[in-house]
Amino acid sequence: MKKRYSIFSLIRNAFSYHENWEKAWKDPEPKKEYDAVIVGGGGHGLATAYYLAKKHNMKNIAVVEKGWIGGGNTGRNTTIIRSNYLWDASAGLYDHALKIWESLSQELNYNVMFSQRGVMNLAHNLQDVRDLKRRTHANRLNGIDAVYLNIEEVKKFCPIINTSQDIRYPVLGGTLQRRAGTARHDAVAWGYARGADEMGVDIIQNCEVKGIKRNGDTVEGIETTKGFIKTKKIGVVAAGHSSVIANMAGLKLPLESKPLQALVSEPVKPIIDTVVMSNAVHAYVSQSDKGELVIGAGTDDYVSYSQKGSHDIVEGTLNAILELYPIFSRMRMLRQWGGIVDICPDASPIISKTPVKGLYFNCGWGTGGFKATPGSGDLFAHTIANDEPHKLNAAFNINRFVSGDLVDEHGAAAVAH
């Protein structure tokens, strides 16, 4: 049993100069065999392991990660959490996650700094206005909080927005989900890792998967840089590298991996206390607790695994940001980076069994996976443990690309994919 984090443990450890904190997770060598192995130690993978151990009583499991945990897209996203999706299937999936977010810090005994500061989506033309109003109604029918704001209400909610009607893409209104917000991305990975480790999950870092061993239509184990690991169930949560792992198992996925960029500014005093996203001009911005503006750009349109994106994508995003927030014109950008996102043709995720028995994929989150981390882990754990999807992720099966029953949120999601 790990010692609980609290104000008292903080004070107690202050006396020993914070040098005697217990390790949050062990660093074990892999065992010869596990009941299940999760490939990918990001937020989704660690959450999957956590819920497998907690809700499905599978303790003899491992998470293998080629780098360090949370070093991939978990640490590269812009930390936005919302559930205001148009279609019922998506609304169910993302709101399931949002409900878990609301009590996650307490459950994990780890402060994930979940902040329900609201997410506002802007409309810039008549079609945007109609689409956003329609989405607001759809959200409310699904029990998801959403309100439509007119120009004055947008300005009141976020006073630094330029609502002049003379700009190239004037603000005509927006929607607001007040339960939405942000969380500290690293803490999510660390909190789930600590919780999973406490229940006996082996978190094995610097362990890259090199091959998947199949016997006919059944998996037998994985080849890794730390040797062969025997297992009957493999859950792959490898984000941008999902296709690479699928190739090892002789499968093809409907994915394309592309660079997605983000950047942060120098830290400044609090200036924007919410998250504002704009679909039409593809710019979104929030402010971190450190004071940096966190800005998300778009994806490049070519396949790449290089974790670098094109400069013109960043330039386009900053042009849009400056038109909407002239006050930021003299801000300096501190850091810029890219992550590799795996995008499905319908821009919705896959949480599914595959034609290979014992092989499960959780992928295709594209540009918006962070917000779903707890729900994705919970539903993927259910799918792996029962060899059947939960009703909330049944629509996100891999077979939808054959049946044609796509979950098409391309234009309807808050940001164009």
């Binding site: 296709s243 190739n247 093809k252 070519y302 790449s304 695994y305 290089s306 094109s310 043709p345 054959v402």
Partner: protein, 91 residues
């Protein structure tokens, strides 16, 4: 950002081009005779290779012609460009 040597116009910035995805996927001659699996394979399934990939590009803000490219997707290095209908110059 990288430079692309358009086979028709010469070297230009990548931002002038539009990526068209995996190359050499032949449209089935009789789509009506395909099973749902075969149609899904043609329409959606992609190799999405990390490494040497054959792909289509369009010089969207230039000559607007389509061509093929061989590119290493792990570091964005372009190995070759060649015209539509030509055999790939490298394996």
């Amino acid at each position: 950002m990288f430079l692309i040597n358009c086979p028709f116009c010469g070297e230009r910035e990548q931002s002038e081009f539009k990526a068209g995805g995996e190359a050499h996927i032949v449209r089935p001659k009789q789509p009506t005779e395909l099973s749902d699996d075969e149609w899904a394979e043609y329409l959606f399934m992609r190799k999405n290779i990390k490494g040497i990939q054959f792909e289509r590009w369009n010089h969207a803000h230039g000559c607007r012609k389509w061509f093929n490219m061989v590119r290493d997707t792990s570091n964005d290095q372009i190995k070759a460009v060649y015209k539509m209908g030509e055999k790939p110059p490298v394996k």
